[in-house]
Symmetry: C2
Subunit: 140 residues, 2 copies
DNA sequence: GCATAATCATTGACTAGTCAAGTAAATATT
DNA sequence: AATATTTACTTGACTAGTCAATGATTATGC
């Protein structure tokens, strides 16, 4: 049977298993997608991003990001900021608490990530990295 | 920052986007995970599998598979069968309706899969396939 | 300059799972 | 043989999203 389809099925399975493994750790109380949000904010120039850009980067819908961010705002990891030029947009801003939590969580996340995809075998990893970029993975 | 972690984040994003694209098609009324269930049953020797084995193959939990299969049984794509040697297990059996739906859905799924990962560039695809197998993707 | 279209974000109603706990049966231990 | 452990599956309570529709604002075409 069609190989592309099999690859897609394996991609789905692998991702499901990995993300459950991450979420089970419950790194400092946040899930893997939440972790990605913190990562993206922390590495962005001024530690803020538009909600829609965050959504696109992590691969959820606009309504998905609204729902994801709510509890993170509630526990003080993020705050809102308006854009003066465009009243439609609302920025997501990383708080010091959010930054601190990210730094802690990152340590645990790194260890698990290395366990799953050993960076030692770098040839494979660079390959996988390239292939994912071609498939739309634009997180750097 | 750690590359393994970035690869995992991109894997998550790519998979989210792809599976949403699939599910949006709503191929013959089923989602991508449902499609995988039908695929696995159809290619298994006697068109039946234990629930736990299905769960493991597609990467969901035991309770996840229970919840997934319910609506599929309700609309007549699957039925149950007991194991006479072991009263704990309950087989999932593909019905003729389920088989028919799979065959229809497969056509659409193949087209979309090729769109996402062109099989023409087979070098890349074989590579990706191998890497996914190493990460636990065991769907053949 | 006004109507039309596009963009950003949210909400209601829903689906697709998760985990933790529990039931029941089979296996292993002693 | 009796007990303890493991395995298969289900259920209750919940989380994490989805889509479709809506509100509000900004950009575009004529």
């Amino acid at each position: 049977m069609n190989s592309s389809l099999k690859v897609l099925m394996n991609l789905s399975k692998v991702q499901a298993v990995i993300s459950r493994r991450f979420d089970r750790l419950n790194i400092h109380g946040i899930g893997f997608n939440d972790f990605m949000v913190l990562y993206l904010l922390q590495q962005s120039a001024d530690e803020k991003m538009r909600r829609i850009d965050l959504a696109d980067k992590i691969g959820v819908t606009a309504s998905g990001i609204t729902r994801m961010l709510l509890p993170m705002e509630k526990i003080g990891l993020l705050t809102r900021e308006t854009n003066e030029r465009d009243a439609r947009v609302s920025y997501v801003v990383l708080t010091p608490a959010g930054k601190q939590l990210f730094e802690d969580a990152e340590k645990t996340a790194k260890i698990l990530a290395e366990e799953i995809i050993p960076a030692g075998k770098s040839k494979n990893m660079n390959l996988l990295s390239d292939l994912l970029i071609r498939l739309g993975g634009d997180i750097t």
